[in-house]
Symmetry: C2
Subunit: 194 residues, 2 copies
DNA sequence: CGCGACGTTGATTTGCCTCAACGATTGTGG
DNA sequence: CCACAATCGTTGAGGCAAATCAACGTCGCG
């Protein structure tokens, strides 16, 4: 598996010397995940951060009525984890599953901490990553509070134009917070009214 | 103004030598904010991170219908900022206002970056802060997707027991995402059914 | 082929909102 | 120190966005 994508993602925010790149790459463990295969199950302690090289994963929960709710999608170039569980090392509530056959790179919590000590710039990298993710999540909270379902859908279309065509509708519905039935109706109105 | 609280908050995650404490404290600018006074207005570029020593602030937006939605409360010991604007240095969409007469400490973006260079441990501190905040925000998103208004209220009561009594009901309503009228009804049912 | 997952559409229900009126409390200027 | 306005919380009646339940067509896949 190629490390180009992840090195490129990292070096967007920090500079690494060649030996640092080598060290970093040596800590990454490649893994293939088949479509519909679970990468993490609720109740597990999340042991790593996952970088998606190819394919697409999703993080979701199942509520007490059996309905699924999507916290995040991770197409290629994105990181995904159960942050709560990863940080606290307590059993988490998230499931992480592949939506397509995917190639990922795993960075264990232990190795991530090693990285902070050996290459302090990674402290900065993951700070920036967390901050950007925080901003996106805050925006989503405000959208959920202030926008109608249709407005959230329109926004999703503009923010994640590539995902729209790649994902099953029910996954998008479970992300913006409506039932698949209502999503279908909404979408057909949307197409009519252009 | 006392720096005990903020030093304590920082040293919960990183260790500082005395001269580092001094340097850090020297970068902080005390400010008093009166109740109902705005600390940041939408359209502003957010120039600092704010640590609340005493009192309570809130970050909120006003939607196109004139309704307010609360992103976060910051009682004493908490940080607050328009993270989007602070990071990007673009005009933000948040208002930050004092709910009570408050004492805060300001750390300008410039000084924060200076801190990263002079005391690298602060890179770690703000990484941890961002990660914890991210976890809380992710949890809130999942709650908004999967819980009813009453369940969100119950959860708010257990997670922020002190805020319940300190805040006007309409502020809590604007946080959990219901109208003040519905919040009132919900609360009276809640009291009846224990 | 046949089964299960997905998307669509219809009929009905409901959680929460809207609008409006009214008391209680706070705060503010004369 | 009082009068008055403003803000807040409460309650009622009616409305709407989205959920629920159910039926049905389509497609991909074992």
């Amino acid at each position: 598996m190629s490390y180009d994508l992840i090195l490129q993602a990292v070096e967007k925010h920090i500079n690494l010397r060649e030996e640092e790149q080598k060290l970093f790459a040596s800590l990454l463990k490649p893994k293939e995940i088949r479509r519909k295969q679970f990468h993490l199950t609720e109740g597990d302690v999340c042991p790593w951060s996952t970088f998606v090289v190819q394919g697409c994963l999703r993080a979701f929960t199942t509520d007490k009525n059996g309905f699924e709710h999507v916290l995040s999608f991770a197409p290629s170039g994105w990181w995904i984890a159960d942050m709560y569980s990863l940080i606290s090392q307590q059993p988490g509530h998230l499931n992480i599953e592949a939506l397509e056959d995917s190639d990922v790179l795993l960075l264990s919590k232990k190795d991530q901490e090693k990285l902070y000590l050996e290459i302090p710039a990674f402290e900065r990298f993951f700070r920036i990553l967390a901050e950007n993710s925080l901003v996106a999540n805050q925006q989503r909270i405000m959208d959920n509070l202030s926008l109608t379902a249709e407005e959230r859908y329109r926004k999703f279309c503009t923010v994640y134009p590539t995902l729209i065509h790649a994902l099953p509708q029910k996954q998008i519905a479970a992300y913006i917070g409506v039932t698949p039935e209502f999503f279908s109706r909404m979408r057909s109105n949307f197409l009519k009214n252009n």
